[in-house]
Symmetry: C2
Subunit: 394 residues, 2 copies
């Protein structure tokens, strides 16, 4: 194939799909003109299935609309949508201790608080990206303040309730990778040593604790000192999640203007995780694997969710940009062909989220509290930027 | 078909499969000769995937081995297996407040406590059934004491932590139906007004709060006063769970020596839930439906798990016994044909647990913390008894 044509075709498709399909779908069907903020529990046609609001998605959508404003086009409508989500967060989503809820009602009445801080990390990236879009520095300061609060919670023993009993110590990939990305997003708009330290610490922790040469895998959970835990949970590989981590690391390589060791680490994670995740029989990135090849026990283990595919699209394109190794362009084509053949809903817009292993649609809703405007538009915005960058270098 | 032949064939198959396949599989591969209790995280071949012990299954297996002893054959090995699970529970599975853990390590070191009391209810039925098997009345007393403790916890506001914020009130089908069955099991071995009251209350609650004529469905969760909650969770139907409730009610009809109103209620739940659950396209009982026909959002929504099938086998046979309506014998044949064509592992024994909608095996493990020796052997023991009863009446 002609690389220039391939990349400019994808750049156009990313931009068009983002601006003509994905963002309009959520602006029309999701944005809550009455209470502010966004609904995500929408069926195949965009109809509201449930007025419950995901707090994750107030932050995620707040981030996406500002990110599109910053990188695609300075559309006032997008900036306002971002602001609406952030206003809703500030008005309704914090409890008295400053923790953020997980679910609230349409009008903001809180429903559920969980033990994790992902609501907070998504609010942080929304505020940081909105600060960049609007030029309003107070949001950068709010983002940094909340970031430091989250750091305190996660580093103070027993500050957050634990799923397991207090004597059961362990480490989770999720929080390490999300703090890496969150710190990097805040660093765009405000400097602080706490951000640099978090990025360095997350990288070291991923490398020293979670990457396991003996399994050629990055594991989802390990012991307190990175020990391999030989249980169903300890053996779990989430390939899409690892591939997402791989491109978060590539972001850092790019920020540093190159870092061979860090790039090698990112590519190792990508290569390992692709091997575990790519389904040779049906195509696509599978949900879960067990590093000793026992059957993974999550009920969705062999399904194809939308977001591992979008992360693989970004990571392979990014790897090509940073290495110019054709292997990654081939992988980008492979994952893109499969993803675009199965996920977009040709009749009603947006993408299905939940496919069976063979690519057939398991259920056609466009969103719920875990799916909304985040991974798909993020891929399109990032993909567009990566294609443009590579085209400039050709 | 000849009904006598049909039922005696099934009686033989239930008994043979139970005594030659299912119970030996768990005695050989699951029972922990070192620490006592039982492992359930076994792969397709019976190999231990994870030494973590499910506390639910210490009680569930403790119940099943005593139940087989009481109803199939007084085998010392079964009585001892039951006692081993109960000893392990008493030694390791309670915390200082008397709450029971959810997961412990092989040696009993506690790992995780959840907010629910299902560990407790399964321990109660184990103790009651073991009391009947062994003749040791102290276990009946322990069962009753723990039962009353659970009643206190679930009826005292804020005694148990809630998944939602304190102001969010609601009712869950799970606890109502499990308390009905648990009370009935304890009543076998000890009389107490608290048991009778629980049974009456559970029946009234199911009828007045959870059964919804307008959807021809029994819902999994409703508002504090039985209000329909129009959310993804509020609209959820779990057909297998409802069918299990239907035969718990038939158990009560039989205990009462007949009760037309209660039988009508049980049959209505069975008929409704079969209609929602039976998959006309592929066969089998599907996991979840939405009462307004929005796509159910649980990732496993269209899968076929083992236990909804076993509950449907019991319920249809029971309904035939209590009504002699051929329709239920046809349903029993329909669900049995599908179940026996897809779940038993012909090469390695026991049953697969997790099939795709079309009946293909999603993952072949024989157990995990949610699957072990409970629904399948319970179906075989109860099915054997029901066949024998009906044969006597022919």
């Amino acid at each position: 194939m002609n690389i220039g044509t391939y990349l400019s075709d994808w750049a156009n498709r990313y931009k068009n799909d983002l601006t003509e399909d994905i963002l309009p779908f959520w602006l029309l069907n999701g944005l809550d003109g009455e209470n502010g903020g966004i609904y995500t529990c929408l069926d195949q046609y965009g109809a509201l299935m449930d007025g419950t609001k995901s707090v994750w998605f107030q932050g995620r959508a707040g981030y996406i609309f500002a990110n599109a404003y910053n990188n695609i086009k300075a559309k006032q409508e997008w900036l306002e949508a971002s602001k609406s989500c952030i206003d809703f967060i500030e008005k309704h989503c914090f409890n008295e201790e400053g923790r953020m809820y997980f679910e609230v009602m349409a009008d903001g009445t809180p429903l559920r608080l969980r033990r994790y801080v992902f609501s907070e990390t998504f609010a942080i990236i929304a505020m940081a990206e909105y600060s960049l879009a609007s030029g309003d520095k107070t949001y950068a300061e709010k983002a940094l303040k909340l970031f430091k609060q989250v750091q305190t919670w996660i580093s103070t023993p027993d500050a957050l309730p634990s799923k397991y009993l207090p004597h059961v110590k362990g480490r989770s990939h999720s929080i390490v990778m999300i703090m890496l990305n969150t710190a990097a997003k805040v660093r765009q708009v405000i400097k602080d040593p706490a951000l640099d330290k978090q990025i360095a610490d997350s990288i070291a922790e991923l490398r020293d604790y979670f990457m396991k040469d003996e399994f050629s895998a990055l594991l989802e959970s390990v012991g307190e000192n990175g020990e391999f835990v030989d249980t169903i949970n300890g053996r779990l590989i989430n390939p899409g999640h690892c591939i997402e981590t791989a491109w978060f690391l590539m972001d850092e390589v790019q920020y540093r203007g190159g870092d061979k060791q860090l790039l090698d680490m990112a590519l190792t994670i990508l290569d390992w995780s692709w091997k575990w995740g790519w389904d040779e029989e049906f195509g696509g990135i599978i949900n879960f694997r067990d590093c000793k090849n026992f059957p993974a026990q999550d009920y969705s283990q062999d399904m194809k969710f939308w977001w591992p595919q979008t992360e693989a699209i970004i990571a392979t394109l990014y790897a090509y940009k940073l290495t110019k190794d054709d292997k990654y362009l081939d992988m980008h084509k492979q994952i893109s062909d499969w993803t675009y053949a199965h996920f977009p809903d040709q009749n009603n817009g947006e993408w299905y989220g939940y496919l069976h292993r063979d690519g057939t649609v398991a259920q056609p809703a466009k969103g719920n509290i875990f799916k909304g405007p985040f991974h798909i538009p993020r891929m399109m915005i990032k993909g567009y930027e990566l294609c443009q960058d590579i085209l400039k270098e050709l």
